[in-house]
C-alpha cells in the first residue's frame, strides 16, 4: 500500500503538487491522469524519491520513505519511463539484469530470470537476448523496459507515460500486456497518462489531477457515472461520456437474468462496446449471455445498453 499524506512540492512559488492525500491499495492498477502540468508525473516521482516533497509524508507499506536510503528504496520499485531509457551499450539481457546485478543476485538466478521475463513479455529469448536496443522497434524496446522494471520482482512498479511514445496498435498491444501481467503477477502498478481512455481502460482506480490537486479518486465506472466536477466531466469527454461508458461497463452489469435470444452468445465479462459491436454486425437487438463456464445466464438487449 502506498499512502500520500498532504504531500506538497513547490517549484519557486508554484505548487506542482498541492496537498495530495490518497492511498493506493496493494495489488491494484492505479492511473494518474490529467492535463500536462497537473502534477501527475511529479507525484509519481515523489513515490520513488526522485523528487523530495517540501511537506507531507509518503509511506510504502507503512514505512516513511524519507527515512530510507533512496537507492535501496528504488531498487525495490520498478520504474518505466516514456523515453524508455534502455542503456544503449548493453544488450537486452544486460539491460534486464540491471537491478538484480545491483542487488548482487547470483549469476545463475539472473540468467533464469532474464529468460522468464522475456517469456512474460512475449519476446523470444533466443532471438532477443543478445540484441542491442538500437536493433529493436519502439514496442520491443518498451517491452524490454517493462521487463527491466520487473526484473527484481518488486511489489510496486511505477510507469511514467509508458505508452506515450508508441504508435496506436503497439500501444494497444502493450496496454493489454500490462493488464495481463498485473493479473498474473499481482503487482501494485501506478502509471501516469494524459489519455483518459487509457486511464479508464487500464486503471482499477483512477486519480484525476488538476493544478497539483487531486480532483477525484475513484473507479472508472464511478468517474463516468458521477464526475466530481465540471473539470472531470469535460476531461472525461463531455458529450462523448456516455459512449465511453460502453467501453468501461461490463455486460454483467446491464443484462437481464433468465430469458433467451437467438444466435452467437457473448460473455458476461465482455464490455458493452463489444456487445454493441456484435449486435450491429449480426443485426440483432438481443444477445444471449454466457458465464465463464459457458452456461447461458441471461440476455442483453439494445435498450439495456442505452440505459444510463
Amino acid at each position: 500500500m502506498i499512502e500520500l499524506e498532504n504531500v506538497v512540492k513547490r517549484y519557486g512559488t508554484r505548487a506542482a503538487v498541492d496537498g495530495m492525500t490518497f492511498s493506493i491499495e496493494a495489488r491494484t492498477l492505479c492511473a494518474f491522469v490529467g492535463p500536462s502540468g497537473c502534477g501527475k508525473s511529479t507525484t509519481l516521482r515523489l513515490i520513488n524519491a526522485l523528487i523530495r516533497p517540501d511537506d507531507g509524508m509518503i509511506r510504502i507499506d507503512g514505512r516513511d520513505i524519507s527515512a530510507m536510503k533512496p537507492e535501496t528504496l528504488r531498487r525495490g520499485i520498478g520504474y518505466v519511463i516514456q523515453s524508455i531509457g534502455l542503456f544503449p551499450h548493453w544488450n537486452v539481457a544486460d539491460n534486464i539484469a540491471t537491478v538484480p546485478r545491483l542487488l548482487h543476485w547470483p549469476k545463475s538466478r539472473i540468467e533464469r530470470r532474464i529468460d522468464e521475463l522475456l517469456h512474460l513479455l512475449r519476446l523470444d529469448p533466443g532471438e532477443f537476448r543478445a540484441k542491442f536496443p538500437h536493433q529493436l522497434s519502439g514496442g520491443q524496446q518498451q517491452r524490454v523496459g517493462v521487463a527491466r522494471a520487473l526484473a527484481a520482482d518488486p511489489n510496486i512498479v511505477l510507469m511514467d507515460e509508458p505508452f506515450g511514445a508508441l504508435d496506436p496498435p503497439t500501444r494497444d498491444a502493450l496496454q493489454g500486456e500490462i493488464r495481463r501481467i498485473q493479473a498474473q503477477t499481482k503487482k501494485t502498478i501506478v502509471f501516469v497518462t494524459h489519455d483518459m481512455d487509457e486511464a479508464l481502460r487500464l486503471g482499477d482506480r483512477v486519480a484525476v489531477m488538476e493544478s497539483g490537486k487531486l480532483v477525484q479518486f475513484a473507479t472508472p465506472a464511478e468517474i463516468l457515472a458521477k464526475p466530481a466536477n465540471e473539470f472531470v466531466r469535460q476531461f472525461v469527454g463531455g458529450a462523448d461520456m456516455s459512449i465511453r461508458v460502453l467501453a468501461v461497463a461490463r455486460v454483467a452489469e446491464r443484462m437481464t437474468r433468465g430469458g433467451t435470444a437467438e444466435g452467437e452468445p457473448i460473455r458476461d465479462s465482455a464490455s458493452l462496446k463489444e456487445a454493441l459491436t456484435s449486435m450491429m454486425t449480426s443485426r440483432r437487438e438481443a444477445l444471449p449471455v454466457t458465464d465463464e463456464k459457458g452456461g447461458r445466464v441471461g440476455v442483453i438487449r439494445l435498450a439495456d445498453l442505452a440505459r444510463l
Binding site: R74, G76, I81, I84, F87, A149
Partner: protein, 256 residues
C-alpha cells in the same frame, strides 16, 4: 577492414614499417650519402634511433597519462552537481588554453623548471590536459538524459551511474580527446630537444643548426611514421569503444 584483437591490418603494417625503418637507419650510410652528397656524415649517430624512439615515446606516454588523469578528473568534476559552478570556468580554460601554441607552453616552462626532460614533460602534460578536459565534458554531457533518468530511477548510486553508464557512453568522445592530445604531444615533444630533452627532435634540431638536411629528414620521417601509427591505434580504439557503447550501428555486432 579485417581486424585481429581489434587492431587493423593497416596498423600492423605501419608498426612493421616503423620498426624496420628504425633498425635499418644505421645501415643506410650509402643511400643517404647518395641523396645528400654534400654532407659528410649523412646518418645521425649521436644517439641510436632505438634510443630516441624510446625516450620520445616515454615522454609522450608519461605526459599523456598524466594529462588523461588530470583532464578526465576535471571533466568529471565539472559535470557533477557539486562542480557545476566551476564548469564554465573549466571549459573556458580548456578552450582558451588551446589557442596558445604548444611551443609557447614549452618556452614558459623553461624559466620555471629549467632544461631537460622534466620541463618538457610538464609542458606536454599541461597542454594535453586541455583537449582531454574539453572532450570529457562534451562526452559526459552528451550521455542521453533518458539513460541517466532510468538509471537513477532503478536505484544506481552516483558512482555506479558514472562507472556503468556515463563513462562507457562518453568513452568514444573522451578517447578522441586523448587522441588529439597524444598526436599533438608526439609533434611537440620534438621541440623538447631545443631545451635539452632527448627526443626524435634531437636529429632535427641538430640538422637545422648544422645545415645537415639528412638529419632533419631522418628525424622527421621517424616522427611522422610514429604519429601515423599511434593515430591508427586510436582509430582502432575508438572503433572498439563505439562498438561497445552501442553508438556504432551497421556491421558492428556481427563482429562483437
Amino acid at each position: 577492414m579485417t581486424r585481429a584483437l581489434g587492431i587493423s591490418r593497416l596498423t600492423f603494417a605501419l608498426a612493421f614499417a616503423l620498426v624496420a625503418l628504425v633498425l635499418a637507419l644505421p645501415h643506410l650510410q650509402a643511400p643517404m650519402h647518395w641523396l645528400f652528397p654534400e654532407v659528410e656524415r649523412p646518418v645521425y649517430e649521436r644517439a641510436s634511433f632505438v634510443e630516441l624512439v624510446a625516450s620520445h615515446l616515454a615522454l609522450v606516454l608519461a605526459s599523456s597519462a598524466a594529462a588523461t588523469l588530470v583532464g578526465v578528473s576535471a571533466g568529471i568534476f565539472a559535470t557533477r552537481q557539486s562542480g557545476a559552478e566551476f564548469a564554465p570556468l573549466i571549459n573556458a580554460i580548456a578552450a582558451i588554453g588551446q589557442t596558445f601554441p604548444p611551443v609557447a607552453v614549452l618556452a614558459i616552462s623553461v624559466p620555471l623548471l629549467g632544461y631537460g626532460g622534466p620541463p618538457t614533460l610538464v609542458a606536454l602534460a599541461v597542454y594535453a590536459a586541455l583537449p582531454i578536459t574539453e572532450n570529457t565534458i562534451a562526452g559526459l554531457t552528451s550521455v542521453s538524459r533518458d539513460a541517466k533518468d532510468a538509471a537513477e530511477g532503478l536505484g544506481f548510486s552516483r558512482l555506479r551511474l558514472l562507472a556503468d553508464v556515463e563513462l562507457p557512453l562518453a568513452l568514444p568522445i573522451i578517447l578522441t580527446g586523448i587522441r588529439i592530445a597524444v598526436i599533438i604531444n608526439i609533434g611537440t615533444a620534438t621541440i623538447g630537444s631545443t631545451i635539452g630533452a632527448l627526443t626524435l627532435g634531437s636529429p632535427i634540431i641538430e640538422g637545422l643548426s648544422a645545415s645537415n638536411p639528412a638529419y632533419v629528414l631522418e628525424g622527421a620521417a621517424v616522427v611522422a611514421l610514429l604519429a601515423i601509427l599511434i593515430d591508427r591505434l586510436f582509430e582502432d580504439g575508438v572503433h572498439w569503444a563505439r562498438r561497445r557503447s552501442g553508438t556504432l550501428t551497421s556491421d558492428a555486432h556481427a563482429v562483437a
